[in-house]
């Protein structure tokens, strides 16, 4: 299991470093926008819109967690297509402020390790990421697969925004990621015209099928706020992936030399 151990080791080091940076970027870019958006769902009213996007009741006039969770039982009947926080309100949730920040960092660390495992393992099938420079390209590929492609059909969304059925969106998201990854791999590593065409078709197909969309895009969130969030989310993900790829390339060559992960110099 030495290869497995080396993959885990490389992924842990690169993933944790990139995640710390990601958590820092989120704290100053996306998180404030999420908090701002929650004030719209807490207030529960939007002008000229019958279906209150997320009526938490009038008691909740600010975005603090206790107020939101107290108001939730009275507001369990929100319209399904625009239901924002319709589930999970009665369950445990981190307190706003420091605790919420800590859990966001933890989620980043754990899932950054997961993304790094995927990146390292998949790249080893293609011979491994041998330098930080080729790591940057792998990072761009990761960004295209996990952010750009699914984000075309399902742009980053804020709390209180209308959305289609969660399960359907998750299926589309996962299918799009898988198809885009397979398509890119065919183009990059097979090198025949026919397979390249198949690769492009795989990348395009999810967007012809189309992502599940809500019945109406009408939302209490100002378009400007949403636009800021789309840019912030996309750019932070780009930096995360490029950094992750570069770190994997740099650490792999530093720890394991040109022979790659198959030889364990740490054993």
């Amino acid at each position: 299991m030495n290869i497995f151990r080396n993959v885990v080791f490389t992924a842990a080091a690169a993933g944790l470093l990139a995640s710390v940076v990601m958590a820092g970027m989120q704290a100053v870019s996306t998180d404030p926008l999420i908090l701002k958006a929650e004030t719209y769902e807490s207030v529960g009213g939007e002008p000229a819109h019958d279906h209150a996007a997320h009526d938490h009741g009038t008691a909740a006039t600010d975005a603090t967690a206790p107020a939101v969770s107290e108001a939730a039982p009275a507001a369990s009947e929100s319209a399904p297509v625009v239901a924002a926080h319709e589930h999970g309100e009665d369950e445990w949730a981190p307190q706003d402020g420091f605790e919420r920040f800590v859990f966001n960092v933890l989620a980043n660390l754990v899932s950054g390790f997961g993304f790094a495992l995927i990146l390292v393992a998949v790249s080893e099938f293609a011979g491994g990421i041998s330098s930080w420079r080729s790591g940057l390209l792998w990072g761009f590929a990761g960004f295209a697969v996990f952010t750009l492609a699914p984000g075309l059909g399902l742009p980053p969304e804020l709390p209180a925004m209308p959305a289609a059925d969660l399960g359907a969106r998750q299926v589309w998201w996962i299918s799009t990621v898988a198809a885009t990854a397979a398509g890119l791999a065919l183009i990059a590593f097979r090198g025949t015209v026919v397979l390249s065409i198949v690769g492009v078709a795989l990348i395009v197909a999810p967007h012809i099928v189309g992502a599940p969309q809500p019945a109406s895009h009408e939302s209490p969130i100002p378009p400007d706020l949403h636009h800021q969030f789309v840019v912030a989310s996309t750019v932070t993900n780009l930096i995360f992936w490029v950094l992750l790829g570069g770190l994997v390339g740099a650490l792999r060559s530093r720890f394991f030399g040109s022979s790659g992960l198959a030889r364990n110099q740490l054993a």
Partner: protein, 56 residues
């Protein structure tokens, strides 16, 4: 297992180990980003939004 034997790692063992690592990664991302458990959702709520995972 020493270094000499590692140079002769069979390709099927290598493939298996890499697949295992990849599946572990998919599982981890799946739990953090896609679990319907309310506790998992609430704990990773801001992260899911920031990563543009389908949320709510």
């Amino acid at each position: 297992m020493n270094t000499t034997s590692l140079t002769q790692v069979s390709s099927s063992s290598r493939t298996g180990q890499l697949l295992l690592a990849a599946f572990l990664g998919v599982f981890i991302v799946g739990v953090v980003g896609f679990s319907h458990l309310a506790v998992a959702h609430n704990a990773a709520h801001d992260y899911r939004h920031s990563m543009a995972f389908p949320c709510h």
